[in-house]
């Protein structure tokens, strides 16, 4: 009996000592795509731990809708993950709250940094780098070759100017009385999506969201009004769009269900169409941004940040460097059908094999991000609320943008 107790004690001590030798590093991934979760748990994490036996990598996937709440709660409780993912627009707020560790000391000697090129600057804020991109997404015009042909348009020559966009939308519209059978072009009716679709038009008109020093609203300029009016006219003047945004039919996206002729979408939708409407995918095309004063469009990256409360910053960096390697990033981006931030991956197989993804990569040269401002979430929501009013015809473009600017300026003054 005594021997049994002694043996058990020795076994327990050995096991606990073994676990003490490993440093647990907690990482939060944003989003819960099944393909990515399978990749991480089945392949990447085991491979990393085999190569780094002193680190226990604990990966958790957090839905985007819960990410900010969970992070804020964990910061308040002082129990933060060592590494977490978020969009680049979140950097400013976390830096101002002193939650992030600058990564410059690690990047300085990092052989991979040149492969990131200009995308590394997306993580730069107030003289330091706090964020390294993992995947990118942009909003581009998605259309179908078959409906273009049916409407007498050339699918190999999509709209390149604002006027051409109007003409194409009118040609693609199908109505039965007052009811849309197919909207020529679809716009989101509210929320984050509406702001993201308006952003390219604002920039293409030569406008911007905030002044250069970020202390005041700039979007209610003549350029802002022109860009918003341009979008409103599709609904209220050209009759080519409905005030109601097209809804997916189950898992089938509106473009695949032929409810819309053109729509602004992120590359993730291509993966959705491939999965749920594979018979339609050969007809799907993507267009480069239209050009007005500029040809800018919205691109943003999601990436990793290191918490100031990390248990071991050297080991946390080893995890980051492994996941940010070309090999890992190629697998991660392929699993999610997103755009890898590395220059060497611009010709990756999964991109080269998909002409639509190639367009997304090509359009990155026109990509701009939302302003990097600590109050961006509130600013964006204020703008979206008034954009919705304008798109519904409740307010004029000038009125809506002026009211939004008033609220944003009040917020910035606090």
């Amino acid at each position: 009996m005594r021997k049994f107790v002694l043996l058990t004690l020795v076994l327990v001590l050995t096991l606990s000592t073994a676990s003490f030798a490993q440093t647990p590093i907690r990482l939060w991934f944003a989003g819960t795509p099944q393909a990515l979760m399978d990749l991480m748990y089945d392949e990447i994490v085991p491979a990393f731990e085999a190569a780094n036996p002193d680190i226990k990598l604990e990966v958790e996937f957090v839905p985007w809708s819960e990410l900010s709440t969970k992070l804020a709660t964990s910061f308040a409780a002082g129990v933060t993950p060592d590494i977490f993912m978020h969009g680049q627009a979140a950097i400013a707020e976390f830096v101002e709250s002193n939650q992030l560790l600058p990564l410059d000391e690690f990047i300085a000697d990092w052989p991979d940094k040149d492969d990131f090129g200009a995308t590394l600057s997306s993580g730069y804020y107030k003289d330091a780098t706090y964020f390294i991109p993992v995947f990118g997404a942009g909003r581009l015009l998605v259309y179908r070759a078959d409906t273009f042909r049916e409407a007498g348009l050339d699918p190999d020559n999509p709209p390149t100017t604002w006027d051409e966009l109007v003409e194409a939308a009118k040609a693609l519209t199908k109505k039965e009385g007052n009811r849309f059978i197919r909207q020529g072009i679809d716009f989101p009716q509210d929320g984050i999506d509406l702001q993201q679709v308006w952003a390219p038009f604002l920039w293409q008109a030569g406008g911007d969201f905030l002044t250069e020093d970020g202390t005041a609203a700039a979007f209610n300029s003549p350029e802002g009004v022109e860009s918003l009016q341009f979008m409103m006219d599709f609904i209220h003047k050209h009759g080519a769009s409905d005030v109601r945004t097209a809804q997916p039919v189950g898992n089938v996206s509106p473009i695949a269900a032929d409810l819309v002729g053109m729509i602004f979408e992120v590359p993730g939708v291509l993966a959705q169409i491939t999965t749920y409407s594979p018979e339609v995918y050969p007809e799907i095309r993507v267009a480069l941004p239209t050009k007005h004063v500029t040809q800018d469009t919205l691109y943003s990256f999601s990436g990793f940040m290191m918490s100031r409360n990390t248990v071991d910053k050297e080991k946390a960096w080893r995890v980051m460097a492994y996941l940010l390697s070309a090999e890992s990033l190629e697998k991660i981006n392929e699993a999610m059908a997103t755009l890898p931030p590395r220059l060497s991956l611009a010709e990756a197989d999964f991109i080269a094999e998909d002409p639509n993804l190639k367009v997304y990569v090509e359009a990155m040269q026109f990509g701009r991000g939302n302003p990097n401002h600590p109050r961006w979430v509130q600013i964006r929501d204020i703008i979206s609320r008034y954009l919705e009013r304008a798109m519904r015809g409740v307010m004029s473009a000038q009125e809506a943008l002026d009211e939004a600017a008033k609220e944003v300026n009040r917020l910035l003054a606090e």
Partner: protein
């Protein structure tokens, strides 16, 4: 005072006096046997007391303090006095829109709920074989999660594929943009909420109906009273305490509406379904303005408390 055959007149505090906290406490504390009884009672309720303090009262007091601060969870709270209250009450049009929407929601849900649940209670208040099946069916929506119910009604209300519009179109009446039209969205949520809640109040009214002495109805029968006369002269007045309870609890519940707003409309379109409960969530968890969210929460508390007092006074006055 009461008389005892053996002890003469015994100065006992009245029931009301025993309820006053300090008097009640002293009453039990001063006597050894009563003190032991009191401490034993507290020992039994200690787990619940600790839970209530840790998870109810403690956070409530903390939230009250936070309502006087600027706090974003990422940096320590900064005391700013009444600034949050002043801003919300004088310079926050979204708050007043949310309050208007919440009041409208309550004023629509409560009367409809009372009318339908009372009707159902009258229908199922009979000793008929199989009546329990109907009582169960009417109660089922109550025990279904609000999120699950919201998902189902999202499908029902869908503009293109929803069952309601498909039926309406068969009769040449649709389609209707139930959740996308700012003039209709709140009413659509009212319909769903009434559907989900009538079972609960039906059960309460049923208990109330079964407490009305049958002799009253027999006497009315003898006097030749019609069914409507019996309802207005016997049933409805007898159910007044139940109705008061339902109105008070219903007011508290509808003024805190959040789940269906979050799941179905996100406060839109055009803030037409933004309620105060949803606004608190938005300010706290989307904008990290915990101080402001706490302020709105306590203003809501004040409103609900005031309305409950008014309800009680009003119906006591009628009695």
């Amino acid at each position: 005072m009461r008389d005892s055959p053996k002890l003469g007149r015994i100065p006992l505090p009245s029931a009301l006096e025993r309820m006053l906290p300090m008097r009640g406490f002293l009453y039990y504390w001063k006597n050894k046997a009563r003190r032991r009884t009191m401490l034993t009672a507290y020992l039994f309720i200690l787990p619940v007391l600790i839970y209530s303090i840790a998870f109810n009262f403690g956070p409530m007091f903390a939230s009250f303090y936070l309502s006087f601060t600027r706090y974003n969870m990422l940096t320590p709270p900064k005391f700013i006095g009444l600034a949050n209250y002043v801003r919300v009450l004088t310079d926050d049009p979204v708050f007043w829109t949310a309050l208007k929407n919440t009041a409208q929601y309550a004023l629509q849900v409560l009367p409809l709920n009372i009318a339908i649940s009372l009707s159902l209670a009258l229908l199922v208040n009979r000793a008929v074989w199989g009546i329990a099946v109907f009582r169960t069916i009417y109660y089922l929506p109550v025990v279904t999660s609000i999120i699950a119910v919201s998902m189902i009604w999202l499908w029902l209300y869908d503009y293109n594929m929803g069952l309601i519009n498909l039926v309406l179109e068969r009769f040449g009446l649709g389609p209707i943009d139930w959740l996308g039209d700012p003039r209709l969205a709140l009413h659509s949520l009212v319909i769903m909420r009434v559907w989900k809640g009538v079972g609960w109040n039906m059960v309460i009214y049923l208990a109330g109906l079964q407490g009305i002495p049958q002799i009253l109805y027999e006497a009315a029968e003898i006097d030749g009273a019609s069914a409507w006369k019996k309802f207005t002269s016997i049933t409805w007045p007898s159910l007044r305490p139940v109705t008061v309870y339902i109105i008070i609890m219903g007011t508290i519940s509808t003024f805190q509406t959040f789940g269906e707003i979050y799941a179905m409309t996100g406060g839109g379109p055009l803030d037409s379904t933004t309620t105060v409960g949803f606004l608190i969530y938005q300010r706290a968890f989307q904008y990290y303005s915990m101080g402001e969210a706490s302020t709105v929460a306590f203003i809501l508390f004040g409103i609900i408390f005031g309305l409950s007092l008014i309800n009680m006074q009003f119906f006591q006055g009628i009695e």
